[in-house]
């Protein structure tokens, strides 16, 4: 009797485990199907590696680990380029996508560098990190100094710490406003909004009209989750409304000011009104999914989303355009500077091969490939200035959107404490978006940042 029962129980457990496995796998494959849908790799061939013979002779058979992209079609690009690199040079590249949230990715690298781990050879590095990671990165100046000259001088300067070129510019980023041209026309608007109040008014009106046929429709989506992306978004709201940049370039904490309070409270009042209530959980992926599925009239996002929205399976293909982000009633449009660099770890056991990989990945043909397939912003000005190229492949690089003044996150002032400071910022903004008035949150943020700056 007992034995029977026990057998019954064991059987039940096994059955349950099997069922769970099926459910789990299903859920997992649903996730990848989603990713595939979002990227739809284009039929463009990866560029050949120049001087491949010499590299092959020196480094053939070595394996390097590359911590690469995971947002949008970034991973597909990394895979295609690495495959070509391996084919031409015989150097194997293990591509590991980093966590999609930049602050989580920072933590991963910080941990690896702190333990002097040789498990990472090449890593993609956010524009705000070179300052904190410099002591752990190889000086690329001797090997790649010449190639760095074709890249934008401002970014090269950002990547040069104490005279050492610790990272190579790879692609740039800035915030833009995506809008639905068809819907603007339908609701009688001739041009995209230029101020935040205008944006919210238009978003509200279009949302009210579209909800009748599509209950999932929202006016405006942005990155409102508590993570690095929210710091980038909030910086644009503040800097475009005379609210400063959290901390000014001299290290003075400025966040607790009237303009900042007003614009943050304006955004707070719009959550669940002209945006989905759940926008406070959105990172890039959720944002572009809403837009591409035709569920949003306006979106704040980086250029990478352009190619996704223009892909074959996008529901808004040919029905959208980009514009500079709106600004406050007093103020002018700005865009947060983003962008990614490639760096070689000081603890790498294959520095030579790793540097050759970085040389290839930051070369002109590869940046061209990345711009066309992934709508990223090239860091090589010659490419961005090529009018025919821009018109054909990258309308978002047109002067109207690309030449908007940039706002910079306070990374140079905060140094190694940038990640912590940014967390203080996005957690405070998250509190505001989730309902706490800005005047109750900003004094606390002011003193938190003050403690980090001193």
């Amino acid at each position: 009797m007992k034995g029977n029962r026990r057998r019954g129980l064991t059987l039940a457990t096994i059955l349950a485990a099997a069922l769970a496995l099926v459910v789990g796998l299903n859920a997992a494959s649903a996730g990848t199907a989603h990713a595939k849908k979002a990227t739809a790799t284009k039929a463009m061939k990866a560029p050949k590696v120049p001087n491949a013979k010499a590299i092959r002779a020196k480094y053939k058979g070595q394996t390097i680990t590359f911590v690469g992209d995971s947002v949008g079609g970034g991973h597909q690009r990394d895979m295609a380029l690495s495959k070509q690199f391996t084919k031409d040079t015989g150097i194997k590249v293990k591509v590991v996508p980093h966590p999609a949230a930049s602050d989580a990715s920072y933590s991963q690298l910080a941990r690896a560098f702190s333990t002097h781990s040789s498990s990472i050879d090449v890593a993609m590095v956010d524009v705000v990190w070179p300052g904190s990671f410099a002591p752990f990165l190889v000086n690329l100046k001797p090997a790649l100094g010449k190639q760095a000259k074709i890249h934008a001088a401002g970014i090269v300067k950002n990547d040069t710490v104490g005279g050492k070129l610790v990272a190579m510019p790879w692609f740039g980023d800035y915030g833009m406003l995506y809008y639905r041209t068809d819907l603007l026309k339908k609701y009688g608007y001739s041009k995209p909004p230029t101020t935040w109040p205008q944006l919210f008014a238009m978003a509200k009106k279009i949302q009210a009209g579209e909800r009748a046929s599509n209950p999932n429709f929202s006016g405006f989506v942005f990155q409102g989750n508590a993570y690095e992306g929210l710091t980038c978004n909030a910086l644009e709201w503040l800097a475009s409304s005379g609210g400063g940049t959290f901390i000014d370039s001299k290290g003075k904490v400025t966040i607790n000011n009237k303009n900042a309070r007003n614009i943050l409270n304006l955004f707070r009042s719009q959550i669940g009104v002209s945006t989905p209530r759940g926008v406070t959980t959105y990172q890039e992926g959720e944002t572009h999914t809403a837009f591409i599925d035709g569920n949003a009239a306006f979106m704040r996002n980086w250029p990478y989303a352009y190619s996704l929205a223009q892909a074959k399976d996008s529901k808004v293909k040919g029905k959208f355009a980009v514009a500079p982000l709106p600004h406050g009633t007093r103020g002018h449009s700005v865009a947060t500077v983003g962008g990614w660099q490639l760096a070689v770890s000081k603890y790498s056991k294959h520095k030579g091969a790793a540097i050759e990989f970085v040389r290839y990945m930051t070369s002109m043909p590869v940046e061209k490939f990345d711009t066309i397939t992934n709508s990223n912003v090239p860091t090589i000005p010659a490419l961005a200035k090529d009018k025919a190229f821009v018109k054909k492949y990258a309308p978002y690089l047109s002067p109207a959107t690309a030449n908007v003044p940039r706002a910079t996150r306070p990374s140079s002032v905060l140094g190694t404490k940038y990640n912590e400071g940014s967390k203080d910022i996005y957690q405070a903004v998250s509190r505001i978006l989730n309902g706490t008035p800005a005047q109750d949150v900003l004094p606390g943020l002011q003193s938190q940042l003050q403690a980090l700056v001193k």
């Binding site: 059987l11 789990g24 949230a101 910080a110 209530r277 406070t280 967390k423 989730n434």
Partner: protein, 306 residues
Amino acid sequence: MASVATTAPRPRRRRTKLQRRQTRIAWLLLLPSLAVVAGVALYPLGRTIYESFTNQEFLALSPTRWVGLANYRELIHDTLFIDSIWETIKFTLITVGFEFALGLVIALVVNSRFRGRGVMRAVMLVPWAIPTVVAAQMWKWMLDDTFGVINDLFMRLHLIARPHAWIADPSTSLASVCAVDIWKTTPFVALLLLAGLQVIPEDLYEAAKVDGANVLQQFRRITLPLLKPAILVTLIFRTLDALRVFDVFYVFFGNRPDTQTMAIYDQSTIVGDGHVGYGSAVSVAIFAIIAIFVVIYVTLNRVREA
């Protein structure tokens, strides 16, 4: 102990060679597992306690220093950490309470005889066997305010008029995360209690029936007292697990400040901010808080037994 001492007063030197050899072999056989325990439990614990007295940082450019009790002094005034303690305790009380009540009912039902009992037992275990991160992501999608199936269902049933952002809205965020944990872990509680129910001899119930005890009396006088050891084990297991909760919260809220558990706060302090020393002090505090709960449970059990 006392009885051993009086009935078998065996002086040490009279131990035979065989006994001594057996003791040696016993220690030898125990050695590997002791080494494992020391390696995976004692060493990390000791190291964490040691680091909690230092100012160790990731990416530090200056060497680590001994700072004494400075981390702990700061910890007492850390409102974020104190908030996270309350958040975790609220979560623990709600989930363990519901899981225990529901689990007990389910265990009693599944313990009775009916057709398809085996299938029932298998089906009820499904939520527990799904990896938490996968389950949490599934629920996150299901609870979404624009495309979530839960809102669709509730609207069709006319329970709500408009889609609700269950996870984003602070007034329902704790409830939604509790619901997922209860959904996932109730089967585990039911399983533990079921195992306890199955060792209660049938003849006790037969005897009670002969004596004219009704079902309620049988439950109070036979089932509950005999189930007590299983209940205690279940509650300890669940409470400790709930106090350490990380995954569901991390998937649902990331680093959102108003919904941090102790473990989330600790992780973001160490891994996010790189404050290894201070984070270790947080870890030690969490260890102490969990230890308090264990002591409470164990004493409760002792008192009742005495």
